[in-house]
Symmetry: C2
Subunit: 286 residues, 2 copies
């Protein structure tokens, strides 16, 4: 029986060690920016995206050491997007993972720059092969993650359709989750057929992640989540629960995860971590 | 006799054509972000950095077509840094190149994202070779351009020394100007000796650019500059004119440009554009 908690714990520690080694130290000049970068990188995130990178590499029989700089790169992108998303001119959040957000500690100017620096650092970490850089830039750029953030801003205070909400989330959350998986598969020398299946697994997972996120925002508490809840309601955002209801949203997430499992059928035992992560997505409480 | 005006005009037009082709169209979803990116990219900048990329490629006998995506990449980085620099939480500027700044037109949230998107786009354009990505990321990251912006914020309202001001400017302005030149040389297959000389030429140029910028901010008018002046005085910034006086600052800039010329001695006629650009740096009025 595969133990996901243990896998997440061990792999998370390896990722933290690598991030600590690959990011400039706090003492690098000027210390302010390096402290701000590390404050948010080491804020106790679950490392889901980099874990997916390493697990996808394993699933195709690759060596995870080759995927580690890419795992760190996707975590840098994820963290930068949170820092900028939390800014007063965006979602205006004071709390993230139970701690004050970056701009609350370092000021808005430094928070903008810390995000910029982590985004730039990601490409330094992915520089080894042109296809890595292209994959990461497409997923994070104005046709991927950033498209989703703009659509998210624009969906506030207006009635978005289910199709629009899906597009927004495929961009905002799905693109980077997908790239995390694809980069790991690429570093593990996946065949085109393997890459295709893992891409669909990633699509399913990315969308399911956001459906669950919406459900948790609508039903959980600040204490359990470690961040403000009912933000979507406050911002009058169109969400899956609002459009489908809580129960139908849960069913939809379950269908996506079932399809994700189908994609992994041919991978055998090596895909155990990916299977367990898919189930974890569906059952997570924060 | 080399005609710089004509060279800047012709080369600038080629760069604009390439940028127009290489950036997503305004109609790409969501249009807001692509309009915002293009608003600042096509705001009438002098294209000095991408021109340097192409001129450095020419100086080592390379084909400029190979350097064009890199020229566009450095312009994307430069433009992103201006958008973020102009934000209320940074320099708080309403005017840039004679037009309202990005956040004045599109709002702060979209301006942050437009900067992020241009930064990401730059790496998509530089993805062809690992050494291009590494060069660009180092120059723009927390040990380069961003270090300079943080140091610039920290030098406000405090008495920085001449050494500190030099370090700030080597990072804030010098690093990207230097990378612009080096990327062009790399695309043109420069020898290690050529690259070394052009790197020093770039160091000289980058520092001279900022010395002149400080002098212009202290002596020119809003009408001539197309942006607010006396910003340094308002922010009580330590500048070259403040630390050395206007005349000694001019002498220092002239010495840097003389050294830049020395570096080009062995390049012959192919370095005419680089020579003319060095002289232009010294004599520019805005």
């Amino acid at each position: 029986m595969f133990n996901l908690d243990q896998y997440l714990d061990t792999t998370g520690k390896r990722i933290n060690t690598a991030l600590n080694k690959l990011l400039p130290p706090e003492s690098a000049q000027p210390p302010t920016i390096h402290k701000a970068m590390r404050y948010s990188i080491f804020a106790g995130g679950k490392r889901i995206r980099p874990v997916l990178t390493l697990a996808a590499c394993e699933a195709v029989g690759g060596k995870t050491a080759a995927a580690m700089p890419l795992a760190c790169a996707v975590e840098c992108i994820h963290t930068y997007s949170l820092i900028h998303d939390d800014l007063p001119c965006m979602d205006d959040d004071d709390l993230r993972r139970g701690r004050p957000t970056n701009h609350k500690v370092f000021g808005e100017g430094v928070a903008v720059l810390a995000g910029d620096a982590l985004l730039t650092q990601a490409f330094l970490l992915a520089a080894k092969k042109p296809e890595y850089v292209t994959e990461l830039a497409r997923a994070s750029g104005s046709l991927g993650l950033i498209a989703g953030q703009v659509q998210d801003l624009e969906n506030e205070s207006r009635a978005a359709t289910l199709t629009e909400v899906k597009t927004t989330h495929r961009n905002k959350t799905g693109a980077l989750i997908n790239a995390s998986i694809r980069l790991g598969a690429m570093a593990g020398h996946a065949t085109p057929a393997q890459l295709k299946r893992l891409t669909r697994y990633g699509d399913d997972l990315g969308l399911a992640f956001q459906v669950i996120d919406d459900i948790l925002d609508a039903t959980s508490t600040k204490e359990i989540m470690g961040k403000s809840v009912r933000a979507d309601e406050k911002n009058e955002k169109s969400t899956f629960p609002k459009l489908l209801g809580i129960e139908k949203s849960r069913t939809y997430a379950a269908e996506l995860i079932a399809d994700a499992h189908d994609q992994l059928r041919s991978f055998g035992k090596k895909a155990e971590p990916l299977r367990a992560i898919a189930d974890f997505f569906l059952t997570r409480k924060h």
